[in-house]
């Protein structure tokens, strides 16, 4: 059986985006638009086939920052309470005195013009 190839055309969109148009041997077209991790699909293809096409696209960023940390955190829940704080005496809310204010009295000169 002769293997028919899928035609792939790509064009850049924005800084990190790629719009890929895949021409299927059956004559159908799948358009996959990807900007960073966002993937928007415009297709009437079966869902599993579209997923396959998306998976075939190369990721624009490999790993991101703190990739090892991200791997360690992978799968952990984004919910849950912190341990409660210990009670300490409430702060005394006291008006700022002129002497305290004077400590912050220096003003900048030669500022940028609005």
């Amino acid at each position: 059986m002769m293997k028919r190839s899928i035609e792939l055309r790509k064009r850049k969109a924005g800084k990190n985006g790629v719009v890929a148009t895949l021409g299927m041997p059956e004559g159908q077209i799948v358009t996959v638009a990807r900007v960073d991790e966002r993937t928007e699909l415009v297709s009437l293809e079966p869902e599993d086939r579209v997923r396959e096409m998306v998976a075939s696209l190369k990721r624009s960023r490999q790993g991101g920052r703190h990739a090892l940390l991200a791997e360690r955190l992978s799968g952990q829940l984004r919910e849950g309470p912190f341990p409660p704080a210990q009670v300490s005496s409430p702060e005394a809310d006291v008006a700022t005195t002129p002497v305290e204010a004077e400590l912050f009295g220096s003003r900048a000169e030669n500022r940028r013009r609005f």
């Binding site: 900007v35 960073d36 991790e37 966002r38 993937t39 928007e40 960023r61 790993g63 991101g64 920052r65 703190h66 990739a67 090892l68 940390l69 991200a70 360690r72 955190l73 952990q76 829940l77 984004r78 919910e79 849950g80 309470p81 912190f82 341990p83 409660p84 704080a85 210990q86 009670v87 300490s88 005496s89 409430p90 702060e91 400590l103 912050f104 220096s106 900048a108």
Partner: protein, 265 residues
């Protein structure tokens, strides 16, 4: 400063409630004029940044707001407020409950469960050095650059080197945070340096000049008194922490060149 290079001096394990200097996963935002993308699925990588449109203006006249977009980053960020500020309303509520007859444990439980208390936490984004101008990077690493605070690389906590951008804080709802989103905490020593960096950047910039003078003379300046002098002349008394005084006198007229003991040909 050598300690900035040693993760054992810089970090400690995170425990208990959120504290000043904690390194957390958080969204940070800056508002920009103009348009952007529509909202999409959440990023799955740290360091991801998007420009998302918030609203679009129809006219170009007030009082209508301009078109704006939010530049949103998903990455490590540092908790900025002092611990007392993080739990100010909690402590006040707990004290009220205890005064009304509740046990301390009961007061803590009830105040902790009240989501209206201390709702907001300011965090600042932690950026990589590639986001800083080349000529500023060394100053940031050394803790010298105002408006920044260095973040030390950590093999233990899997954190890449970077810097806290104190110029770009974001207010985040406390309820967004969970224990798994806190990855490390600062040591007591590092928190002290963070507080100094915050004070200098937000309120007290010229403190650095006083510090320079203090380092130069080897004592802490506790007060400065200027004496009335004729025009173009200045006299200032620097009061030191050992009660000694250094008097500075100056003039706008250029000083005579220093006399050299070496003969010039």
């Amino acid at each position: 400063m050598a300690w900035f290079d040693d993760e054992a001096d810089y970090y400690e394990a995170a425990a208990g409630p959120l504290r000043q200097g904690d390194l957390v996963l958080a969204p940070t935002i800056s508002i920009e004029p103009g348009g952007g993308e529509s909202a999409g699925v959440a990023p799955a990588e740290l360091g991801a940044e998007r420009l998302v449109v918030l609203w679009s203006a129809i006219t170009s006249t007030l009082p209508e707001a301009p078109s704006i977009a939010a530049r949103i980053r998903w990455d490590l960020a540092m908790v900025l407020p002092h611990d007392c500020a993080l739990e100010k309303e909690f402590n006040e509520r707990a004290a009220q409950l205890i005064a009304a007859g509740a046990s301390e444990d009961g007061a803590i439980a009830e105040a902790s469960a009240d989501s209206r208390l201390d709702r907001h936490i300011a965090v600042a984004p932690i950026r990589g050095y590639e986001d800083a101008h080349l000529e500023r990077r060394q100053g940031i690493r050394n803790g010298q650059r105002l408006g920044t605070f260095p973040v030390v690389a950590s093999a233990r906590y899997l954190i890449e080197p970077g810097w806290v951008d104190l110029d770009a804080p974001t207010t985040v709802a406390r309820s967004l945070f969970a224990p798994a989103m806190r990855v490390a905490a600062l040591s007591s020593q590092a928190v002290n340096y963070l507080r100094a960096a915050l004070a200098k950047h937000w309120a007290h910039r010229d403190l650095s000049r006083a510090e320079e003078l203090s380092r130069t003379i080897g004592r802490t300046i506790v007060a400065v008194h200027a004496a009335p002098m004729p025009k173009d002349r200045l006299r200032a008394d620097l009061v030191l922490d050992d009660a000694a005084t250094i008097t500075l006198e100056g003039s706008r007229k250029p000083a005579a060149p220093a006399r050299s003991t070496r003969r010039t040909v």
